[in-house]
C-alpha cells in the first residue's frame, strides 16, 4: 500500500506521547498536516466501501456532470481525518472508540487537492463513567474553500 508505507501504521508506537483525557483542553487547536489527495487514494477508499459510481473514476463521464470533473465521495473525510493527523495526536490513541459523527458537505474534494485540516477538541465530559471528548474538524482545499466540516464523539481509553 503506497500511502500506508509513508504512514505510521503502528498506533502503539507514539502512544506515550499522546494526551490522555485529563490533558486534553477543550477549545485548544490540534496540530495537523497538509495532505495531497490522489486518484489512487480515492480508488482504494472506494474499493473499501464498494463505491462504484463513475463520477469517482471515469474522467470523461465526470466532465459531463454538474461537478465538471472527477470528485471523491463525500465520506472521503474518513481518510482525510487520519491523513491530516500527526502520529502523536490523541485521535490515534489505541482503544479510542468512535461513538458517532456528524458531517456537513459544501464542495467535493478532488484528486490533486492539497487538503488542510483545522481541528480542535470542542468538549470533554463524563457520562456513565466513560470519558468522552468531542472533536471538531473543518477541511479546506488549496483555494481556501471549505470542503466539509464535522464533529465526532469519542470515548477515551484513559
Amino acid at each position: 500500500m503506497g500511502q500506508a508505507d509513508a504512514f505510521e501504521t503502528d498506533f502503539w508506537k507514539h502512544a506515550n506521547l499522546r494526551k490522555v483525557w485529563d490533558d486534553i483542553v477543550a477549545g485548544e487547536p490540534r496540530q495537523t498536516i497538509p495532505y495531497t489527495l490522489t486518484r489512487e487514494a480515492i480508488a482504494l477508499y472506494c474499493r473499501a466501501v464498494g463505491e462504484d459510481h463513475p463520477v469517482y473514476f471515469d474522467e470523461a463521464y465526470a466532465k459531463t456532470t454538474r461537478f465538471g470533473g472527477l470528485i471523491a465521495p463525500p465520506s472521503i473525510h474518513i481518510l482525510l481525518m487520519f491523513a491530516c493527523t500527526p502520529a502523536d495526536d490523541w485521535m490515534r490513541s489505541p482503544g479510542t472508540v468512535n461513538a458517532g459523527q456528524s458531517w456537513s458537505y459544501n464542495i467535493p474534494a478532488r484528486p490533486g487537492d492539497v487538503i488542510t485540516l483545522q481541528a480542535r477538541a470542542l468538549d470533554k465530559f463524563i457520562k456513565r463513567e466513560r470519558l468522552f471528548v468531542v472533536h471538531d474538524n473543518v477541511f479546506f482545499n488549496q483555494h481556501g474553500e471549505v470542503i466539509c466540516c464535522g464533529r465526532g464523539w469519542t470515548i477515551r481509553p484513559q
Binding site: 501504521t9 474499493r47 473499501a48 466501501v49 482503544g95 472508540v97 466513560r130
Partner: protein, 145 residues
Amino acid sequence: MTTTFESLAAGDTIDGPKFAVSRESIRLFCDASLDYNPLHLDDDYMKGNFGKTNFGGIIMHGMNNFGLISRMITDWAYPAGAIHRRLETRWLKPVRPGDTIQPSGIVKSKQATVSSRWVLIDVVVRNQNDEKVATGEAMVEFPQT
C-alpha cells in the same frame, strides 16, 4: 422512475447495498482510511477491558457504516440531480467479521428554504439478525433548476 423533489413523500424508502464484513474487509478499510486502531486489528488486545467496554474480538470501523450510508445516499441523489449535504450517525452495536450489514433510509420530511429545497431522511444500518447497528439522519439538497 426518476426521483424528483415534487414526487417524494414522507415514508418513501431507500434500499442500500448489502455489505459482507470479514477480517479482509476490515483490513482493507484500515488501509483505505489509515485508521489502524488495534480495535480493528488485534484480537488479543480486544479480549481485554478498556474504556469501560469489552468487545471480545476485533470490530469493524464505525465509519465503515458511515461510508455505506453515504454511498446509499449519493447513489440515490445523483440521478435526481440532488446533492448529499449532511449525515449524522450513532453506533448502537459493534459489527464483527462474519456479519452482513445493510443500510436503508426512509424519507422523513421535505422543506423549501429561501433559495433551495431539502429532504430529510432517517437512516439505519441492520445486521443479518435484523438488529440495528447504526442509526442517523441525512439531509439531501434538491437545487432549484
